[in-house]
Structure formats: structure tokens, C-alpha cells
Symmetry: C2
Subunit: 302 residues, 2 copies
């Protein structure tokens, strides 16, 4: 799995944090660690990144041999503020630092994964990593964002042609396809490469498109959404973690993976940063997954 | 069933109409007519309203004895324009006309319905009608909108205390409760009277709240949403029509009614005005209901 490991500073209507551990790869690997212990991280940090944080990832069974530590450089830092509705935010600070010239080096013992998650990064870094693998993974899942559609669309399309599953939000799906109807958007985007498309709609759930089929996964209704940071990455980690655990990449199993990913994300947003996904009990996860199923379960008659 | 029968003129990115038949009661009763033939309309029009339109409702088995025709007056007229995303619209013209002093007279033979749908109207007209019934209906469903929250909140709260089910959209639920979290909003609103609350989220589906239970009904993904006018009323008509047909007002059956209502609404938005709900075949409705079920169906294992 590749992505960013970083510092975040977050402000929401409920409070604010100092620099805390963040980055797509952090959320993805923590979330996936509840499903499999065979996770390796390809990422980069500066020498300002505490060894304690790295040990914390290791303690979760995450292999950090592919985590480069650049001496004399600083880790990626993002700071943002969420507004009252939690659906919109403004970026206060983005310091690329070590991400500016990230060269994704893949240690030899890690160059043949069965499942590959490409966290949100420059598309050229994502495709470079794919090119360095010794064999094609069974499944490649890619996350990206509107930022790359704005400044690196051709690179993005090239990477898209190499992946099996794309996860983006509804606004990004509309931007990438130029279609407002999500059905039409999903067809155009899948014609660019990925056979599967997941459209994340935040508090409105998520959609999975494959051939002519669509699956809708509702979002959990929560008393309060405390901090949405990392929810999409936590979702992706649960999704690919469940697929890796079960080894089944059928559409039916992807539907289940979508529920597990959403359940993981619903924990994430209940506290700041990674706090609420550090120690989820198996029983709590089972309970939440059942609640997801109940949410849209109906028996039709006649 | 009470509501408005009116003229609408609609403009969308796909075209525009002249004055066509509209009004909450029109959509509600047409939609309900696919489930039961025991529907009576309490409404008012001016002498400009064509007898052909009234005959059309009668042909659908709708009793129009309670439809007042005010000589020398004009029917309610609304004109609006939808923007590209179909989620926002602007009102171009609102002429209350006969609705300005609507006195809901209930013919004696219609004064003891088992199921009562209160279409969107001034809350005082809705409560006046309830007061004129000979007995309490088995179920009263009420629709309303933010307009009445702005100008007649106390009347609205009085009517709310008399009903069993309220249908509003998410923005209105937040306005009425002062809570952003829909779980918290639903508790506050149900404390005002209705035991059941339906929150409509348009293209994002609908939620049904009852006690500590929540059911989420997804929205059908459509190639194009052509005209959203009347979708909420068509939903309400299918919902109460299904309940009246089955005579079962349990939570489990309300979940099914939500699916049927959503299926009816999904037909409505595919063409202008009432055009696409004039002649729905039983087979097409069954097929759409199955697609709704498939949309969120998942089998969990382990």
C-alpha cells in the first residue's frame, strides 16, 4: 500500500488539535490492519516524524520497511478547518516537504503484493509504483482527488488505465466525466480503465458500479460527526482489507467490503484524527456492520 | 386527502411547459390511485380549471365531490425554473388565487376516512380539516415545507401535534429542529407529535424514523432527472396508497411503503409534470420495486 504519512492539524466546530499523525497511508493501513496482518507501507516522512508513531504502526502489524525517512527534511503537513455542516472545509496550510519529490522505492521483499491500494498522491507517483512491481497484483484500488484532475489530468488518466477500482466522491466523479447523472458519469469513468467504480457521498453513503449493476451502501447515522478527516481513507482501508482477508474479488463480496469500509469510516469520524480507529474491538465492529445491514433491510411481499 | 389542485408552468434545462395540471393533491391522488380506488379529494380550483382535467382524475377512480369550483375566481398557479443540478430551483410566479381563503369543506359522505393525507397547505387549513372529520383516521400523514416554518410556526406545531407521520426534506428537518444531526433532529421533531418521521433527501434517498429504529430507502439512479416537480407528492401518494391498500401500519410495512413511494417518485421525475405517472403498468412498477430492493441488498457472512 502506498500513500502519505503526515502530520495534520485539524479544527472543527468541536475543537482543534495540534500536529497529530495523519496522511492517507496512515488511515488506510490502520483500518486495513483490522482485517489482515500482511500490510506493507510505501511512503516517505522527514526526520521530524517521531519514532513512537512508527512503532505504533508496527504494533498494528504494519510492515514499515518501505517507509523512507529523509534526514534533514520535514514531513508533509496539512492543516484545515471544517465548517458547521462538516461537508465543507478550507485548507489553511499545505506543506508538501518530503512529498515534493517522493520517489516510491519498493523494497524487493515487498514487490509482489496481491492487493495494492494507491492512496491519494500525484498520479505519476502512483503509476511509477505500479511499474516497479515484479508482478501484476490481483487487485489495484486507486484513490485520487479533484486537485489532480485540475493540474495533472493526463497523468491521472494514464494511472486510471492501470487500475481495477477507483474511489472518488460524487463531485469528483462529475468533474472527471463532465456528466451530472452519476450513472452516465460511472460509464464514462469506467471506460477510462477501472472495471469497478466507488462513488463516495459522505453522509449520503456510497455507490459501487460494476457492469450494469449498482450497489448502494447507506451511511451510518451518527449522533455527531466530530471530525471527517481520514474518513475516505479509513473506508478504503477497510474495503481493501476485507477483500484481502477473504481473497474474493467478486461483485457480491465487494458489496460486503463496501459495508465493512463504511463501518470503519463511521468509527473514524466520531473522534479527532486516528483516535477512534486505534483500538476497535471485534465485537464493536460486528455490531456496527449489523446496524448497517439493518439500516436498509426490507422484506418485500407480493 | 386534502391538498392543492393547480396549474404549474415549469422550466428545466431540458425544456419548458405551458400551464399544465399540477398541485400537491393532483400528484398525491394520481400516485395513490395505483394502490387503491377509494380516494377522495378535498381541494379548491377556480372556474378556469378545465373539466377535462377533473374528468381525468375521475377516470383514475378519484372521488372529486370534495373539489370546490369557485366561480369567477382563478386556480392556484405556480411557475418555477430548475437549475442544472436539479436540486435547486427558483420560483418565478406564485398566484395564490382561490387558495388565499380556502375553507376545506368536507362532504358528509367523505368525513370518516381511514387514511388521511394532508398535502402541503397552510397548517391552519390542515388542522381545520382534521377538526371537521367525524372520527379520528387510523393514520394521518402530513406534508409541509419551510415556507410555513418561516411564517406560521405556531400553527404548524399545532397541526404537528395532531398527526402520525410527517414528511419533510433534510433542510426542513434541520430548520424545524435547530439540529444538524438528523438523528437529533428526528427526536426533537417526533417530540412535537408525529410518531413517525420521513426525511426526504431527493437524489440521496429517504429516511424513516420510529422509536429507536431507522430505515434508509435509497433513491433510484436514473439516466436523467427531467423534472423534479411533484416528486415529493408522488412519493407521499404511493406511501399512503400502499398503506391503505395493505391496511397495515406497522414499521415493517411502512418500510415497504417507503420503497413503493420512492418507486412512484422515480417515474414522476423522468418526464414533465404528471405525464409519466398517468399510465404506469403494474409490471413496470413491480420491476422498479425489485430494482430498489436489489440496489441495497447484501448478504453478510460470518
Amino acid at each position: 500500500m502506498i500513500g502519505s504519512v503526515a502530520f495534520d492539524a485539524i479544527e472543527t466546530p468541536f475543537g482543534k488539535t495540534d500536529k497529530i499523525i495523519g496522511g492517507a497511508a496512515t488511515y488506510i493501513s490502520l483500518s486495513a490492519s483490522y482485517f489482515t496482518q500482511d500490510i506493507s507501507l510505501i511512503a516517505v516522512v522527514g526526520d521530524d516524524f517521531p519514532q513512537d508513531y512508527i512503532n505504533l504502526l508496527k504494533a498494528k502489524g504494519i510492515n514499515t520497511d518501505g517507509l523512507q525517512i529523509k534526514q534533514g527534511e520535514k514531513s508533509f503537513f496539512w492543516s484545515g478547518r471544517y465548517f458547521n455542516d462538516m461537508n465543507s472545509r478550507e485548507t489553511l496550510i499545505t506543506e508538501l516537504n518530503v512529498l515534493g519529490d517522493f520517489d516510491p522505492i519498493v523494497p524487493e521483499q515487498l514487490n509482489a503484493p496481491d492487493f495494492l491500494m494507491l492512496g491519494n498522491l500525484a498520479p505519476v507517483v502512483q503509476s511509477t509504483l505500479i511499474g516497479r512491481l515484479a508482478k501484476k497484483p490481483q487487485l489495484i484500488v486507486m484513490d485520487t482527488m479533484n486537485f489532480w484532475m485540475d493540474i495533472a489530468l493526463e497523468d491521472l488518466k494514464h494511472t486510471l488505465s492501470m487500475v481495477d477500482v477507483l474511489t472518488i466522491n460524487d463531485e469528483e466523479a462529475r468533474q472527471l466525466s463532465g456528466e451530472y447523472s452519476l450513472i452516465k458519469a460511472s460509464r464514462k469513468i469506467r471506460a477510462m480503465g477501472p472495471k469497478y467504480l466507488i462513488i463516495k457521498k459522505g453522509e449520503h453513503g456510497a455507490l459501487l458500479f460494476y457492469n450494469e449493476e449498482v450497489f448502494f451502501c447507506p451511511a451510518m447515522l451518527l449522533e455527531d460527526v466530530f471530525d471527517p478527516t481520514g474518513a475516505g481513507d479509513t473506508f478504503a482501508g477497510g474495503f481493501i482489507g476485507y477483500l484481502a482477508k477473504t481473497g474474493d474479488i467478486s461483485f457480491e463480496n465487494m458489496k460486503r467490503a463496501l459495508i465493512y469500509g463504511s463501518a470503519m469510516a463511521s468509527f473514524c469520524v466520531e473522534k479527532f484524527g486516528t483516535e477512534n480507529i486505534m483500538d476497535i474491538q471485534a465485537e464493536a465492529l460486528r455490531d456496527r456492520v449489523s446496524r448497517f445491514k439493518a439500516l436498509s433491510h426490507v422484506e418485500l411481499i407480493g
